[in-house]
């Protein structure tokens, strides 16, 4: 089989703010090219995980090869590489972009340019891609194509009339889009005679096939059966199968320069394939690898503990498997006096954390207790050395440290200008400092702040949404560590400190935090057989106290001949509910209580 002529290949991504219709547009492209018949059409085919479909977001980058025939009969292979739209996953966007020559920048014609539209556009421009601006949802009554086209041109330059106008829902404008992709996205360049260099831009674990790599051939050819070398890891594997996703997997004998598809080597072990690695031929290896990517760095840490201690090994296996598809997930064993053995896990953000936890529970049938998320602090010790801590309980006592530093974010917010006052108030509460303010138009403003990550983690985005009635959007990047006046707030249950409840808080907020947290815990912890005092403390000083009063009545009034079976069933059901509880000392604590800190602002 011969390889596709690179001049007939176009590799592109769709980049957009969340909910601007990227997945729906992808569906339309699949349908128009016959990649999938309307009969098979499930909404949003590229979102293969249940959670993605339920939440309407794309988590894993995925790719599909579309066969498109122009009016004059020329056939093109259009490789669509999907990207996630949530800020937590922006590093995956950059990975996808490295496999492309062009990007379709999609903006909702009603909502206009949002923070991630901008962030993704800059990322694509930096990656040297041809960016094609497009408006989606032009069928909406609230659409303002002229205004939003103007905003896009303001970022990218060019002519507002050149901005494509689409409705992914009705299919309007899709033919024009194909024409533009063929005209404007540069065909891939690559030397077919050079040694093979192919980029692993993603990987996926299949229970039957093992690790499936998503690859983009840059130079040379990759043939089925060939011995391959992975340049970063130095490992060699056989190309058991190479092929395209249409979206069904179609094996081919060889892939040439510019082609995008999959590779199966038979590797089953986690961590042996590194996303971002360069594949070359074992017999005629290239000398210089392709540029890789920065390893994504976890920003948010949380302890995950199995409710049933016997599930620890199952949790480890499940994390190992998840990590195969998600290089950004990090974890190390952690033990807690309150919760037993579990893992301290690092996530890209809160959404990432929620998704991982949900997948562990749903796909691996684990029952987990999660602790409140925290960020990584840097502690400068009296001797000048520095340690990074991922868990509040590891913060040394005030006498044993010189200073504590916390990560800050450079946060970009785009919102209608009428909300500036409200946003400033929010940011001030979050200990943020303004860096810059720019009017994108008389009605819309871009605000740049420095805000501690720890404050952004706790509901900042939700607050921003509600304060701007949903019109505010946000993107961020890590901007480094700064010294802060931070203290550790401990929680004592029944006079015993519970490590899993400890939190690092700014000194000015510690009192209020402690008070709200013990109030929340009093609501969440059910009444026990005895009074349970709940205290918040900084060191030895108690700063807040509540009491869960002892349960007094826990008995059904009647139990006679007719009630016995029913009563037994009822009590057995209640007993199952009790099983969820974690026994901390002698106190039964529901799993929700360990993330109560997330809710102290409610």
């Amino acid at each position: 089989m011969s390889v596709t002529d690179p001049s007939r290949i176009r590799n592109f991504s769709i980049i957009a703010h969340i909910d601007h219709g990227k997945s729906t547009l992808a569906d339309r492209l699949l349908e128009r090219t016959g990649a999938i018949s309307e009969r098979d059409m499930r909404e949003q085919v590229l979102d293969t995980m249940d959670i993605e479909r339920e939440r309407g977001i794309t988590i894993k980058a995925n790719n599909v090869r579309l066969k498109y025939r122009t009016a004059d009969g020329a056939e093109y292979a259009l490789n669509l590489i999907d990207t996630p739209g949530h800020v937590d996953f922006s590093y995956e966007v950059s990975r996808s972009l490295a496999a492309c020559e062009g990007a379709l920048l999609l903006a909702d014609a009603a909502q206009g340019v949002q923070a991630q539209t901008l962030a993704n556009a800059y990322m694509a421009i930096e990656a040297g891609l041809e960016v094609i601006p497009a408006l989606n949802k032009i069928d909406l009554p609230a659409a303002e194509p002229e205004r939003v086209a103007g905003e896009l041109v303001g970022i990218l330059g060019g002519d507002p009339d050149e901005v494509l106008r689409l409705s992914a829902k009705t299919g309007e404008g899709v033919e024009a889009l194909f024409a533009r992709l063929i005209r404007d996205v540069p065909p891939p360049q690559g030397d077919p005679n050079a040694p093979l260099r192919a980029l692993v831009f993603d990987s996926y674990f299949d229970a039957y096939r093992g690790v499936v790599c998503y690859v983009r051939v840059k130079d040379g050819r990759m043939s089925a059966g060939e011995r391959l070398r992975f340049m970063a890891t130095g490992e060699e594997h056989n190309a058991n199968e190479v092929g395209f996703l249409t979206p069904r997997a179609v094996p081919v004998s060889v892939m040439g320069p510019g082609e995008v598809g999959y590779l199966i080597t038979g590797v089953k072990e986690i961590d042996r394939i590194k996303v971002g690695d360069t594949i070359t031929s074992a017999s005629h290896p290239a000398t210089v690898p392709l540029p890789g990517y920065d390893e994504p760095k976890p920003m948010v840490f949380s302890g995950l503990f199995p409710t049933d201690g016997d599930d620890f090994e199952r949790l480890r296996e499940a994390l190992d498997k998840l990590r195969l598809n998600d290089a950004s997930l990090q974890y190390e064993p952690e033990s807690s006096r309150a919760l037993g053995f579990g893992f301290r896990c690092g996530f890209l953000g809160l959404l990432h954390m929620e998704i991982v936890r949900e997948r562990l529970e749903r796909e691996y049938n684990l029952d987990l207790v999660a602790t409140a998320p925290s960020v990584a602090y840097r502690v400068v010790l009296p001797d000048g050395s520095m340690v990074e801590i991922h868990s509040p309980q590891d913060l040394p006592n005030p006498g044993d440290l010189a200073e504590v530093q916390e990560p800050f974010l450079r946060v970009m917010i785009i919102a209608p200008s009428e909300y500036i006052g409200s946003i400033m108030e929010l940011v001030t509460n979050a200990r943020g400092e303004m860096v810059n303010m720019t009017y994108l138009s008389p009605e819309r403003v871009e605000l740049i702040y420095q805000i501690p990550l720890a404050e952004v983690v706790f509901g900042f985005f939700d607050n921003l949404k509600s304060r701007t009635r949903g019109y505010g959007s946000l993107d961020y990047e890590v901007s480094g560590y700064r010294k802060s006046d931070l203290v550790k707030v401990d929680i004592l249950l029944n006079a015993v400190p519970v490590d899993a409840f400890s939190a690092v808080v700014h000194r000015d907020k510690a009192y209020e935090y402690g008070k709200k947290l013990v109030e929340k815990l009093r609501e969440l912890i059910p009444r026990q057989l005895f009074d349970v005092p709940i205290q918040a403390a900084i060191g030895a000083r108690i700063i807040a106290r509540e009491t869960v009063r002892a349960r007094r009545k826990d008995v059904l009034a009647k139990c006679y001949g007719g009630d016995i079976t029913r009563k037994k069933k009822l009590l057995e059901k209640q007993k199952e509910g009790k099983k969820r509880m974690k026994l901390v000392g002698s106190v039964e604590v529901p799993p929700e209580a360990f993330v109560a800190a997330l809710k102290v602002d409610d």
């Binding site: 057989l529 007094r552 009545k553 826990d554 008995v555 009034a557 009647k558 001949g561 009590l571 007993k575």
Partner: protein, 384 residues
């Protein structure tokens, strides 16, 4: 010798008794909190229903002589005394009645007349349990009850004068809006009327009732702390009046503990007769159909009323023995399940908290209001 209601000997011997439960589902008006098998406005079927009860008795497998018979409802007092007597006679003919048999019947105060009472005493009924619920007019109204406090007290005297051996009153506490004074007055008035037995029940919100629907729609629900206060108050007042608490909700003078219920809590066997009635024989719990027309059709066509059954044997039976026995003031023999409880972390916590006390070979719940916490722990015990 007159038995103390809470004596260990009584509790243990009751397990060997045989009883019959007869269900009479008819009511003039269904109370908003009631989730028993009851019907309203179906008095046209009373005649057929009596026939079905007699037929069920005839079709029961043989059983040794009965130690207790219990007419529950519904409203058994809606049946003519002659019908009640006919059922008793049929039971006597079919199984025999042991000497000292207790024949108990639930009644609404408004149904009690001297003639009615006299006929029942004559026919062998020796115990009546009156659904008084409260002596506070407002509370009675909230509970959907139709009698007045005066009627309630008068019905006790009527039964006494007719020579009823044992008179019991059912009260409900913790109705939203009921003050502690109201409850105290209800208990005092009831005890003064000269009863032999008192059942005090915390108002319970059952989901499939009018009360359950109202609470789901936002109406006030009973407060467990208020109910705990009222339970304690009633127990104290009953004690002062010479009634001994022998189960979570039941108090009696010596010699007046309800034998039917003692038998149930001791894993004794009982026959089930009537709509929705449950039985327990030879290690099998049975339940009759709950829909009146289905019940009548099935019994009349000879299919029988049993809708389903559960086999209770081995470890499950042991846990059930503990579950039922812990409700009694006399407690329950430890046995393999009790030993297991004592050896478990959950059991130790209950002992440390003073909820469970071990007296020799008996397990006693010292804080009866927390009995279900004990039972849940028992039900989670696994066989070794």
């Amino acid at each position: 010798m007159i038995e103390r209601p809470d004596s260990v000997e009584l509790a243990e011997s009751a397990g060997a008794w045989k009883s019959a439960y007869v269900h009479i589902p008819f009511c003039d008006r269904v109370c908003p909190y009631c989730d028993f098998a009851v019907v309203e406005g179906r008095d046209d079927t009373i005649g057929r229903y009596l026939g079905a009860l007699l037929s069920e008795i005839d079709h029961q497998p043989p059983c040794p002589g009965l130690d207790a018979v219990f007419f529950g409802g519904g409203t058994p007092s809606k049946f003519a005394p002659a019908s009640i007597v006919a059922i008793i006679e049929r039971l006597r003919r079919r199984f025999g009645l042991e000497p000292g048999v207790e024949i108990s019947l639930e009644a609404n105060p408004e149904d009690i007349t001297p003639e009615w009472a006299a006929s029942l005493v004559e026919g062998g009924v020796d115990r009546v349990s009156l659904g008084v619920q409260s002596l506070d007019r407002e509370v009675l109204q909230r509970l959907g009850r139709r009698h007045s406090p005066e009627q309630a007290l008068a019905s006790v005297s009527t039964l006494r004068r007719a020579g009823m051996r044992s008179v019991s009153v059912d009260l409900i506490f913790g109705t939203p809006g009921e003050s502690i004074e109201s409850w105290s007055g209800t208990v005092a008035g009831t005890l003064e009327s000269g009863i032999d037995h008192l059942s005090t029940y915390a108002l319970t919100v059952e989901p499939p009732t009018a009360l359950g629907r109202a609470v789901r729609a936002g109406a006030a629900a009973p407060d467990p702390d208020d109910q705990a206060d009222k339970w304690e108050l009633a127990a104290e007042m009953a004690h002062e009046a010479g009634l001994i608490r022998y189960e979570v909700s039941n108090h009696a003078r010596p010699g007046h503990a309800c034998r039917y219920n003692l038998s149930v809590w001791g894993m004794g066997e009982y026959l089930a007769i009537g709509l929705g009635a449950h039985g327990f024989r030879d290690g099998v719990r049975t339940r009759n159909v709950r829909r009146l027309d289905t019940y009548l059709e099935r019994v009349e066509s000879g299919i029988g009323a049993v809708q389903g059954s559960d086999i209770v044997e081995g470890w499950a039976a042991e846990l059930e023995r503990l579950m039922l026995g812990t409700r009694r003031a006399a407690g329950v023999r430890l046995g393999p399940g009790g030993e297991r409880l004592v050896g478990s972390p959950g059991g130790q916590r209950l002992i440390e908290a003073g909820v469970v006390v071990i007296h020799g070979d008996r397990l006693v719940v010292a804080r009866p209001l927390l009995t279900d916490a004990v039972v849940r722990t028992i039900l989670s015990l696994e066989e070794e």
